[in-house]
Amino acid sequence: MKRTVPLLIAAICGFVLIITAFIPATVTWGETATVWFDVLAAIAFILGGGNLLKVHLRKVSDRAAGWAYSLITVVTFLLTLGVGLLKWGVPPGSDQEFFGYSFASLSVADLPEELTFRLPVDLPGDLAAGTLPASVRRQLRMTFAENDSQRLGTLEFHGWMTSSQKSDLLGFHDLLDWKCAVEQLAERSAPPASLAGKVSYFAEHEALAISGTLPEATEQELRAISATQPWTAAVTELARLARAPTSRTLQYIPSGLQVPSSREDSLKLQGQTLTVIGPMTPEMRAELTDVFPRVRPLAEQEIERFVADMGDTLSEDQQNLLRGMLGSLWNAEQLITVLNDAGKSQPVKKTYCELRAEQLAGVDDLSPTRDSSEPDTQLNAAQVEALTAAVMNPEVNLRTLGSVLSELGPWIPAQESALQKFRQRLPTIGQRNRTLVAALTLGDGQLPRATLDLLLAPYREEHLWNNEVFALYEAAHRVKYAWSGGYLQDGSPFWWSYEYAFKPLTATMFALLAFYVASAAFRAFRAKNLEAFLLLATAFIILLGRTPTGVWLTSGLPDSLSILRIENMTAFILSVINTAGNRAIMIGIALGIVSTSLKILLGGDRSYLGSGD
């Protein structure tokens, strides 16, 4: 058995993979075998490590020659392995951590009956046979109609449906009836309007979650949903987490910093101390850091004043570069175009239920959208004038430009959001100045200390403030998945061992070969006969053809002899003769591989079984 089983395994696996190449229906067999193969390849790394440890530990314990080096191997192996497997010094993955949310544990089974939403439907029964998307499998139940065992009668959803669950469900089947039912179910299983966007239920994390702090009124509303013990306990836990204060004494505060009035329940600034109640949401953080002015178009005189402020420290070239960069930041025209584009009425996407109604009404050519009934909103002359004046005026904040424009003419939410998006994509003064310094010092450019200080002060301040806010953001956050970070995180000990040991060592090992080819060229390559001469001459041409000297040597040849130019000769050798030679070798090797593979699969080659017992 010791010998027959492996022979059978090899033969079966091999032939399965060969068959899958010819019969499309069996592709998944091949996939499965190959995926297993890939898993085994990973386990082979563990085997390799284990083997290494075994060999070197034995050497150390036997005090064999060179055992001290073996000890180094063992120690570096264990250290690297330890920090890598433990993800030492790796912060949790920032995109996996649900920043801004507080989680209270609540399993699907413990969800109160009030959060079970039912939708009577009439859908084909074979839908129930499909595999539901994993994200909703715990929460969605399909039941058959009482009077017809071939049709679905009810869809039942536990908990509030998230938008990604809705899109997963929509993608489950293409039937319009189904998609319409999903839409209705999603509507039914949405949290009450007053809680929308504030509370969520994440079934995959078995957590009732709340974003930001929990106001008294919201808490009461949540408690009113159900009186079951697990629910009440979860709400109490949420209230505790979302009301825990976190304070930070700030080393730096931007001048004129004020807590936005909409955030007064969760953010407090007292002297040098900033306090956040509950976790800080990413939106709060963005709002807090977005306090620095953005660049605006500069008039001719302003640019000149800017350049003059730099004093005579700039060379002529640098001054012109600075003028060019300051003059080409952005202009009012671009913003006007953006706002007018945003004001154009967009076709409205129909809901699936609307499409279904149309289908039932007998419309053949279903269009997923319908034209908007709203007319286009374009900036009027007064608005354009106000905008053009405002962007050039340092006193006006672009953030509040919308309220000015709305008084002068029509102004729709899409335009407001386009305005804010436009504003947020503009660099801050600090970011602009950093770009200016980078451009001015590119190559051999120099800037005196005083100029650097002047230009980089805003950049420094923005950096300090962003770090202050981030520190509070992090301090107020409760880690949910401590192990979710990437094992290669920059700055972690495992990264360190890669960057400062693995990388230089392996790279230098290979670099040594450059010296040995040089030595071989001098000592071993002798034109002893015609064949050896051909080899040497080719190497000579290839090497020379890839230097500017070689190109220069033959650049004088007339066009009729251009094939003799060294770069053309190199190309000819590589793409014709080398191709021919290597193609013949390739064909030979391919035949060899095919025959050895067949030998292995048919049991002719059993060398991998080892010596016997």
Binding site: E31, F37, A42, L574, T579
Partner: protein, 289 residues
């Protein structure tokens, strides 16, 4: 005189090592640099990427490690610069265990500073490494999710916007491979391009060692190839002269910069071959006398 010939022929190899060190070190210290004229192969690679439309998905398979960074990192950063400038959607992955580091380095060197507007997960994604050599290629050609359930940062692949609608590598408009050996360009040609000749197109940047072996695949199985540092320098020149105004940053001149020491060392190699053979002939002549 014969005495000198004999002694030279028996020259300790360490002197030759020293010569090689000097031939590479001195041009680096004095920043010796030459201009590059792109040849047909580099142009073929460049044109293949130029033909794509903004938003087309491109697979960037970076199958190399620090041991061959000297030759391949200039190619890799030029590829990323080119794809990002063309606004292509970039899907990075690697068949080398150290590959994810190479990918991350290129993201930090090229995308973060020069294309801050690109969003991770929407414009580019690092799918990371999977062991299994050619087995990985074989599987992801028909089903990406069998192996790649998450990206290299652990995010579920179904939650990454740019991965929705990508079922397998056949959905890519082009495969760009940077390869240091096995597994690499040969395996991609064998398991990705050859079985799907009408769907899958590929260009590659390879080490000097591999380049001659790959020529037989050009142009039918492989649309274009950059060979060694010379190919890197040519392609780099093409990309930077097209997409960067003024002087490019230092990292976009790595290939051209490294051609300086390269050229001097080539001349040394030629000198060594000539010297070795001259001494050989002189010795042969001496024995006849």
């Amino acid at each position: 005189m014969w005495n000198i010939v004999d002694r030279l022929a028996r020259l300790d190899r360490r002197w030759i090592f020293l010569l090689m060190l000097a031939a590479v070190a001195i041009p680096i210290l004095f920043e010796l640099q030459f201009d590059e004229t792109p040849t047909q192969q580099a142009r073929a690679v460049f044109d293949e990427i130029e033909r794509l439309n903004p938003g087309d998905p491109v697979l960037l398979a970076f199958d190399y490690d620090p041991a061959s960074e000297g030759e391949l990192s200039p190619m890799a950063s030029s590829f990323v610069l080119h794809c990002a400038s063309r606004k292509l959607k970039m899907y990075f992955l690697s068949l080398f265990p150290v590959g994810p580091q190479m990918i991350e380095e290129n993201i930090q060197k090229v995308i973060l500073p020069d294309f801050p507007e690109l969003v991770y997960g929407e414009d580019y994604v690092n799918l990371g490494y999977k062991p299994g050599y050619e087995g990985v290629v074989k599987v992801i050609m028909t089903d990406l999710r069998q192996l790649y359930t998450t990206d290299s940062r652990g995010t579920n692949i179904d939650q990454i916007p740019m991965c929705q609608g990508i079922d397998n590598v056949q959905d890519m408009k082009l495969i760009v491979n940077v390869s240091a050996g096995y597994p690499g360009v040969k395996e991609w040609v064998q398991y990705a391009v050859t079985p799907f000749p009408d769907k899958v197109k590929m260009v590659a940047g390879v080490t000097g060692v591999q380049a001659p072996f790959i020529y037989p695949y050009i142009p039918r199985q492989l649309r274009g190839m950059l060979g060694a540092i010379k190919g890197a320098a040519e392609y780099e020149t093409l990309v930077t002269s097209t997409y960067i105004e003024g002087t490019p940053r230092e990292i976009y001149q790595e290939g051209v910069r490294r051609m300086g020491p390269q050229s001097v060392a080539h001349l040394l190699m030629i000198g060594l071959i000539l010297a070795g053979n001259s001494l050989f002939l002189l010795q042969k002549w001496q024995r006849k006398l």
